[in-house]
Symmetry: C2
Subunit: 165 residues, 2 copies
Amino acid sequence: MGELSLYLIRHGIAIEREIFAGPDSERHLTSQGEKKTLQMAERLVDLGMSWDLILSSSFLRAIQTSEILVNAGLADEIQLHEALAPGGRFGDWLQWLDQWRLQERLGLGLVGHEPDLSQWAELLMWGSYQGVLELKKAGVIGLKLPPHDPVGQSTLFWLTPPRLL
Amino acid sequence: MGELSLYLIRHGIAIEREIFAGPDSERHLTSQGEKKTLQMAERLVDLGMSWDLILSSSFLRAIQTSEILVNAGLADEIQLHEALAPGGRFGDWLQWLDQWRLQERLGLGLVGHEPDLSQWAELLMWGSYQGVLELKKAGVIGLKLPPHDPVGQSTLFWLTPPRLL
């Protein structure tokens, strides 16, 4: 099992909670959110990225973001995992990751929510969480994970808001 | 005194220690190093950046990098500070910063060396250092510093190698 490049991507701009009548899990991307997410996705493809899988929150705004990433050519497959929903369990995802990495894997994209994603990134780097990473909507965090026991052992090689991409 | 955007920039690719006859402080950028640094600088300008000052290590490869940044239009002025030389003192720079920020300042670029720059970034974010940030040559770290006492209180909004810029 080699090093893994992990990309944490926050969903694009969605219709605001205050003006959407349905449940939070069904808030959808705005047209501006779709556009900016597509620009981000195309830029990642231009930069040569290609992942084995996108693991996504099942919330609609995350699924829509994942679909834009797949349609742009970043990955062929989307899987949903409840650990990526807001407030999901980091430990559950770690268990999933251990299994998934039994086969040789080079790149994984996670699509989810804040503050969870930047919290996970901090846990992977430092083993603790202080809330010092700023992950904008449609922003990206890139981490390198060692073959085993990534918590507190991973390194950050990329963090970018879409406007600086 | 408002929030400050701080950009930490590692010098570009320099002639290797093993094949350069002079002292480390006089190692110069290679032609590839100049080219990649210029591309990085032009991209930062395209992204709308403009800083009040570039504070640089006095080592030649850092000065050359700073000059490329100034010539591209990122700042008008370069100052040298010994805290930015390899192994320089973070505390000395913090003292300088407190003074410099007495006037309203919005953006500061630091040009220096590794592992110092990524160590400083970690100290500003977490107040301690574990070596988990990867700063490539001609790479950039962007931090937001609060008005006072930035150590352990700053947030990371950007970290990028030149190839993902």
